[in-house]
């Protein structure tokens, strides 16, 4: 029969002192870390010590023990916050970039491309009124130059923004690798601590904080192992596998152009990473797709501006009485790579037989392989050039724009960077255009067994190369303002050029040049608006989720203050208990002694 020892009761009091002290220690830890990011509140979990049994009166208590110091978290909420934080960062980064793009375009303002374009049309109207006035001619050249410079500048700024973004992608990837390395190291430490049966509180807090930072850079999912390690995945591929890091690397494609695209892949396996959230995703989207689409639209704008103005310039007569087209080399108004108009040589061409031919777009500059299905244009017997142009626009309008100016058929490519390919499909078709309708001087190659591939020299550099041609810039008398030779008072061709301000161009989806540019700006505005709204939405969501997370893991000072009193009082009581026991023992010793 077991007997309760006298000093055993002292031990009960001591365990109380120790447990309350530990709990106070945890409270202190909580209070001091109340504002530490990533810190989760801790709790001393107390339990009654195993009792002594076999007493005549039943069980006898042996005091209290602190079983563990628990870190209170919710893995579900942590993952929710991380994934929404990733989307929020993505939209914040997109929002910042779009604000920069908007600042580059600088619309609506009195200094943007739109107002330069308006000023250019106005100067042409003035030229129409005063075709012989050298100062008005100079003004047209100046406005043309300032329009070209505006377009060049916007394009160059877009390109340099893209280059900056490419650098940012490289540094973001470096940051991700560094976080991954820290997580791997912490994994090793946590597993080691947990193996000894201890709770790795501070280490886990650190790791959680790094995971939060990582998730705002890239989409990650985390799987917690029972060993204590966190496995981190990007699109199903492990980034951190226990203590091993599968590093990412960013590759900037060196294709010679200004718009180098950048890809991110796992460096070991070389597999592309599936990135759909976080800052990195926004940076990649912006540099690989959004900005190139604006560059592409500016190129189309510049190519069309140059092409349309030049088409009129070539058919008009300058102040010396000569046709701008008659010089060698001809005197265009604008230079822009990719804007060249193919010109025919026949002035009164009529088809002799009905037939058809194909028109397509080459896969790239200099390519004679058509991309996609070519357009078949059928032509009736006896059709004049104007009808042929109409037929081409109706049946192949997506690839080319045909017009008749000065009795000559002109075929113009609509997509900068792609050549026009021409292929007669039967003898009738061959009779239609071979050598007479379109420029035979253009490069002729072969197309899958066909003949007469007319290629149009073009590049994607229209917006960056747009400039007033040197011939016209040096002597504004070469602007072809007249539609009749030797007529200094004839401003009708300048009038026709000014009329381009409202001409709906099939190539630009039936918008005018100004309307097409307005469309670019309104698309930009819509994208910007969307990003603003998304930042607002995800901001609210993240705030709400963080509140929930805080409600589980956050430190409440009121609660800690209450706990402190609780533990303090219990500590005092336990001390009193020991004191009382001491008196009891004293009495016993004195009475017995």
């Amino acid at each position: 029969m077991a007997v309760q020892t006298t000093f055993g009761t002292l031990q009960v009091g001591l365990s109380g002192l120790q447990a309350q002290q530990t709990a106070l220690n945890v409270t202190g830890e909580n209070i001091t870390n109340a504002n530490t990011p990533g810190y989760a509140q801790e709790q001393a979990v107390m339990a009654a010590s195993p009792p002594l049994t076999n007493y005549p009166a039943g069980e006898a208590g042996t005091g209290v023990t602190v079983q563990e110091i628990q870190r209170i978290t919710s893995a579900f909420l942590d993952q929710q916050v991380r994934s929404q934080q990733g989307l929020l960062s993505q939209w914040q980064s997109t929002q910042n970039s779009l604000q920069e793009v908007q600042a580059i375009f600088n619309e609506p303002s009195s200094t943007g491309i739109q107002s330069s374009l308006n000023a250019f049309w106005s100067s042409l109207q003035q030229l129409a009124d005063n075709p012989a006035d050298p100062s008005v001619r100079t003004a047209v050249v100046q406005q043309g130059k300032s329009l070209a410079t505006s377009v060049n500048t916007v394009f160059q700024q877009l390109v340099s923004m893209q280059q900056d973004l490419n650098k940012q992608v490289v540094s973001t990837v470096g940051q991700i690798n560094s976080y991954a390395q820290q997580i791997a190291t912490l994994n090793g430490q946590i597993v080691a601590v947990q193996a000894t049966g201890q709770q790795p509180g501070a280490l886990a807090d650190n790791r959680a904080q790094i995971l939060n930072q990582l998730s705002s850079l890239i989409n990650v999912t985390v799987r917690q192992e029972s060993s204590g390690a966190d496995q981190v995945f990007i699109g199903g591929v492990p980034l951190v596998d226990n203590t091993h890091v599968n590093q990412l690397s960013a590759q900037v494609a060196q294709n010679g152009g200004p718009a180098n695209s950048v890809t991110v892949a796992f460096s070991s396996a070389g597999t592309a990473a599936s990135i759909n959230a976080g800052e990195l995703s926004a940076q990649l989207q912006m540099t690989n797709q959004t900005i190139p689409s604006y560059e592409q639209q500016l190129n189309t704008f510049a190519a069309q501006l140059a092409g349309q103005v030049n088409a009129l310039q070539f058919t008009g007569y300058d102040l010396t009485g000569a046709q701008a087209n008659s010089y060698s080399p001809p005197h265009p108004f604008f230079d822009a790579a990719g804007a060249e108009v193919d010109q025919g040589t026949s002035t009164s061409y009529t088809t002799t037989a009905s037939g058809s031919f194909q028109i397509g777009l080459g896969a790239g500059a200099g390519s004679t392989t058509p991309v996609g299905t070519p357009y078949t244009v059928s032509i009736a017997s006896g059709a004049p050039l104007s009808q042929i142009a109409l037929d081409i626009n109706q049946q192949a309008g997506a690839a080319v724009y045909a017009s008749v100016a000065g009795g000559v058929l002109q075929i113009q490519g609509v997509v900068p960077g792609q050549d026009i390919l021409y292929n007669p499909t039967n003898t009738g078709g061959q009779a239609v255009l071979t050598g007479t309708g379109v420029d035979t001087a253009a490069t002729v190659g072969t197309w899958s067994g066909g003949t007469n591939v007319v290629t149009q020299p073009s590049t994607t550099q229209s917006a960056s190369t747009l400039a007033v041609d040197a011939s016209v810039a040096n002597d504004p008398a070469y602007i072809a303002a007249a539609q009749t030779p030797n007529a200094p008072g004839d401003g009708s061709n300048a009038q026709a050029m000014a009329g381009l301000s409202t001409t709906a161009l099939p190539v630009l989806n039936s918008a005018s040049l100004g309307g097409y540019y307005d469309g670019i700006i309104s698309t930009l505005g819509l994208q910007g608006q969307q990003s603003n709204q998304m930042v607002q939405n995800f901001g609210n969501l993240v705030t709400q989720l963080t509140n929930q997370q805080q409600s589980v893991s956050g430190v409440s000072l009121d609660q800690e203050a209450t706990n402190m009193i609780r533990y303090q009082q219990a500590y005092g009581a336990a001390a009193d208990f020991i004191n009382t026991l001491n008196t009891v023992l004293n009495t016993l010793i004195q009475q017995v002694g």
Binding site: A34, P108, A487, S501, D518, G525, L526, Q529, A561
Partner: protein
């Protein structure tokens, strides 16, 4: 829900930030007076602003074209009025010459007056609006009419150096207005051949005047076997009728020009009205409604102040403040 101190302060900051963002937007609107400073604030509005600006730029060009057209028509009109009075004087002289009480000396004097009238008309027909000779067709850079004179100062020919080019001004969507009259149509040209028998070639006003001048000279000193009465009857039969026809023709051109001026004036009024309404539309899209913006700004400011006060009271106290 368990609310921690961090939740309170984070939420407070988030709300404060939102209010500040809104305040800065309204502040920008109020300070610039413009509702749209970046396209993302109002994508459709930004597009409308750009579109209205283009329309206004075009209307301004139309206005400038109309003003320029007006100087052409004004110059043309006053030249035609001068031409009309020159021709009327010539007609008076023709009536005077055929009055029956004129002698050879009188006829010489009249022919010299006619000569000076022709000289005057050449100057009138070379009217210039400051930039261009208005009766020259497309050849606006050089005087369209040049007179050749004999040694005695008499004009023996007036040549037209212009062409029949039609000069138009773009004064509105699809509204091209012709602003010139080619000099060859209005004044014609003429030349007196020096060979015998003397003939006058050409057509129009100058031909008629030269023919009249030559007839007067012939009447003053009849060449060969001719008599003064033959030439005087030529004047009364042919030249008088021609000159009165010329006066009528010039007056027809005057009313044509007047009609053009009226059309231009109507167009200009229309342009001004259109310009006003587009400016109005632009204002509606672009300009800040100050009263509305100010009210909204004030209400956000109130919310901001309330939030600051609440924050100041809410954030610091914890149980610790009341212990000890």
């Amino acid at each position: 829900m368990r609310i921690t101190n961090q939740t309170l302060s984070e939420n407070f900051l988030y709300g404060l930030n939102n209010l500040q963002t809104q305040m800065s937007q309204y502040l920008q609107q109020l300070s610039t007076g413009q509702r749209i400073s970046t396209p993302s604030q109002h994508p459709l509005g930004a597009r409308q602003v750009l579109n209205y600006q283009s329309i206004l730029a075009r209307l301004k060009s139309f206005q400038a074209n109309a003003t320029d057209g007006n100087t052409w028509l004004d110059t043309t009109q006053s030249a035609l009025q001068s031409a009309s009075s020159v021709l009327q004087s010539a007609y008076q002289l023709a009536v005077q010459a055929t009055g029956g009480t004129v002698n050879s000396t009188d006829l010489t004097a009249i022919s010299q007056q006619v000569n000076s009238l022709i000289n005057q008309l050449v100057q009138v027909a070379n009217a210039n609006n400051g930039n261009a000779y208005v009766f020259a067709g497309y050849q606006i850079t050089q005087a369209p009419f040049t007179a050749t004179k004999a040694a005695n100062g008499m004009i023996t020919g007036v040549a037209y150096n212009g062409d029949t080019g039609t000069i138009q001004r773009d004064v509105g969507p699809a509204a091209m207005l012709t602003v010139n009259l080619p000099g060859s149509q209005v004044f014609g040209s003429g030349a007196i051949s020096t060979t015998n028998p003397v003939t006058v070639s050409g057509s129009g006003v100058f031909h008629d005047l030269l023919a009249f001048s030559q007839d007067l000279q012939n009447a003053a000193t009849p060449p060969g076997s001719t008599t003064a009465s033959t030439w005087l009857s030529d004047i009364s039969n042919t030249d008088l009728a021609n000159l009165s026809g010329d006066v009528a023709q010039i007056s027809a051109f005057t009313s044509q020009t007047g009609a053009r001026m009226q059309r231009l004036q109507t167009t200009q009024n229309g342009l001004t009205a259109f310009q006003n309404s587009v400016t109005g539309f632009l204002g509606q899209v672009q300009d800040v409604n100050m009263a509305k913006a100010m009210t909204q700004f004030t209400s956000i400011q109130t919310a901001y102040q309330a939030s600051l006060e609440a924050g100041a009271k809410l954030i610091p106290p914890t149980l610790f403040n009341f212990l000890g």
